[in-house]
Amino acid sequence: MTDVPLIRISGIRKAFGAQAVLDGVSLDVRSGEAVALLGGNGAGKTTLLKIVATIMRPTAGAATVAGHDCARAAETVRRLVGFAGHGAWVYDELTARENLRFWSTLDGGASPDETLTAALAAVDLERAAGARVRTFSAGMKRRLSLARLTLRPARVLLLDEPFSGLDQRARKWLEGYLEAFKLRGGALLMVTHSLGRELGVADRIAVLAGGRISLDTPRAGLADDDVQRLYAAHVEDPV
């Protein structure tokens, strides 16, 4: 474990035209740590996640993953990062298995069949492996997207509302997977909208409001309604 945080966000500013969505965001996530990023609608949480994921470039400021700049060393960062956004990255006309085969081959490591089957089994999609994704429910598509994540080991996971749409069993699996990920030394930055059980995985809670991080606090010792109160305070009335 080095001293440099695995994810370091410093002074990120992102403007779309004249509108500044992010205005000086700084946040660190260390190895073995999980940070839950909260905020109101349109606060810029997804934008921030995408900047770290190298999907977007910041207008000013820098984000680094394991010391590599996300804008300038994007390819290196991409090898280290696993990202799951709102879109499930699935092709409707392909089967679940074919979708996994496509992404794993494109990633450069064509996984053998057994690995794909295991990934599908982990998210309880084994029986639907040969069915076209167009027949899947939103929750199933989300699970397939998570299965895709497990195929390539990542040091950093950037997840946008990963628990949404998952049933009880899938949530339990995901919690277990993320805990194991943290134990391996991975860093997790997770955007979440809800303040419930999902936060269980988080070691810290950060609130994005007014274009900045207005709260960054350890979750330990906070009861659920504490979180509610803090969130309401910061989102309604940003510091």
């Binding site: 403007a15 779309f16 035209g17 004249a18 470039r57």
Partner: protein, 217 residues
């Protein structure tokens, strides 16, 4: 300032060039005064191509280093270039009317310039359609490079298209077997228009930079 000097130089150059073209140069026997456009049209066409080469080079520079300045040069050159190209076509057409009897002919040179004009328009259209500035810069850079590499192909294909079954057009490029009385006004105008282009380019780049800085303030 360098830009001011360019401006003055181009004004002087143009003045001299136009005087030479319309006053000093001999009156052509068969075509009359209209032929004097020959001193203006080729320089305009030359600058049109030059401007596009600049677009292409600046585009490559932008893609390699992503410096906004390179993109501004490409953008500005396209804006100035499209004007010169339009004028080149217009003067070619004006010359063509009394000479060939029609406003337009699918002559090799004119056709090539027309295609260049359309490519400029496409570039500017793309610029205007893509909202995100950085993305517009990248896309236009790619378009600029593709179009510029395409120009030699356009040249050959159009030339073969017109001349393999027909005699070459009246506008022979070489043909300075004649006196220096024709050569000098032409060269002066080529120089003058090039300097004018450089001046307009510099002004345009300045304007674009000011706009960009304002957007961030």
């Amino acid at each position: 300032m360098a830009v001011r000097a360019l401006g003055i130089l181009s004004a002087v150059g143009l003045l001299v060039g136009l005087v030479m073209a319309f006053g000093v140069a001999p009156r052509e026997t068969t075509q009359g005064n209209v032929q004097r456009i020959m001193y203006v049209h080729p320089p305009l066409a030359w600058v049109s191509y030059l401007a596009f080469v600049v677009v292409a080079v600046a585009s490559v520079a932008y893609l390699v280093r992503r410096r906004p300045a390179a993109d501004r040069v490409a953008h500005a050159s396209a804006e100035v270039g499209v004007v010169f190209t339009g004028l080149a076509i217009a003067t070619g057409s004006i010359w063509g009317k009394p000479t060939w009897g029609t406003w337009w002919t699918w002559d090799a040179r004119l056709t090539s310039v027309a295609i260049l004009f359309v490519m400029y328009l496409g570039y500017l259209l793309l610029r205007g359609t893509v909202e995100d500035r950085e993305r517009a810069a990248r896309y236009c850079a790619v378009l600029g490079i593709v179009a510029a590499l395409d120009m030699p192909l356009v040249h050959f294909s159009v030339y073969w298209w017109r001349t393999l079954h027909q005699p070459p057009s009246l506008m022979k490029p070489g043909g300075f077997t004649g006196s220096s009385a024709i050569l000098w006004p032409l060269l002066v105008n080529v120089g003058a228009f090039t300097v004018l282009y450089a001046y307009l380019l510099a002004k345009r780049v300045r304007l674009l930079r000011a706009e960009a800085e304002e957007a961030f303030a």
